[in-house]
Symmetry: C2
Subunit: 176 residues, 2 copies
């Protein structure tokens, strides 16, 4: 009945993997580095994940869970889905955001599973935005703005006023 206790090390390894991907890119996300960052030996890592591929698989699996929860929160957000979506696009400190950026790094290495995972998450977001706004063009545009906020964050160039600017413009469109 210790099946709930192995979550700790397993998740710590996944966290470390994501951290390496986000902070140093896929090149620095080696098994050694991941194991060290998780405070586990390389052998210990390979006990939980038999290959680097399984590490990716595990990360993507967890991403899906987080994504489902995020979409649900977006749907029921008090300030509305648009505000929630934009807000969470900037706040790149959250575990979910880190998982997403990590997934894009893997997708860039031509991993079809990661690309599919990203597509699935994006489609879910778009569905909520489009339903709420009743306007595909506007929904897609807002999604692009969110992508832009993501992109800026993940390349290290953060403009603290960006979100305020976006709010101002969307206000003119009676969206916020």
């Amino acid at each position: 009945m210790a099946s709930r206790d192995d979550r700790s090390t397993r998740d710590r390894l996944l966290d470390a993997f994501e951290q390496q991907l986000v902070e140093g890119g896929s090149r620095s996300a080696t098994l050694d580095a991941v194991a060290a960052a998780a405070g586990v030996s390389k052998g210990g890592l390979l006990y939980h994940f038999h290959s680097k591929d399984e590490l990716v698989e595990g990360m993507l699996e967890r991403l899906h869970e987080q994504a489902d929860a995020d979409v649900e929160k977006m749907r029921t957000a008090p300030a509305g889905p648009v505000d929630f979506y934009l807000e969470t696009s900037v706040d790149s400190g959250s575990p979910f955001d880190r998982a997403l950026i990590a997934a894009t790094r893997v997708a860039q290495e031509n991993d079809p599973r990661a690309a599919a995972a990203m597509a699935r998450v994006r489609d879910a977001w778009f569905a909520v935005l489009a339903e709420h706004l009743g306007d595909e063009a506007l929904a897609r545009t807002i999604q692009l703005i969110g992508d832009g906020l993501y992109f800026d964050d993940s390349t290290g160039l953060r403009d603290p006023d960006a979100l305020a600017h976006v709010r101002k413009v969307l206000g003119r469109l009676d969206v916020l």
Copy 2:
């Protein structure tokens, strides 16, 4: 006096380097792969660039030249800078776009030179947008949309209607 003639192979190497970075990520952009893609031996590559670092340096140098030319074209575009900016954010087949995506890949590996290059290009674009629109909030928002288009392209998820959607929304703001 052959300094204009080595452009051929030198540029072909830089092209190949960028191609590897864009299509396979930084992990697959090895010296062997770059040399092979350029139809040059590894020794030939190292004749032109004494290290991988010099390859990055050369790429960034060329990026700056391309960026200056792009900003000039943007400034004098017949349809206006906004339209030009958005248009070129989607068309990821152009050499300049490829160079930019390649630079982001390098920047993700914590290369400060690449990050600085990206920042410089982005600042130049923003200056033109802000000057043309006379509205910082709108300029920043449009820049974010462009970033979003870039991001989508570079992660392989392309929505063919994205640009049309954006145009429609910007039309409501009397921008296009």
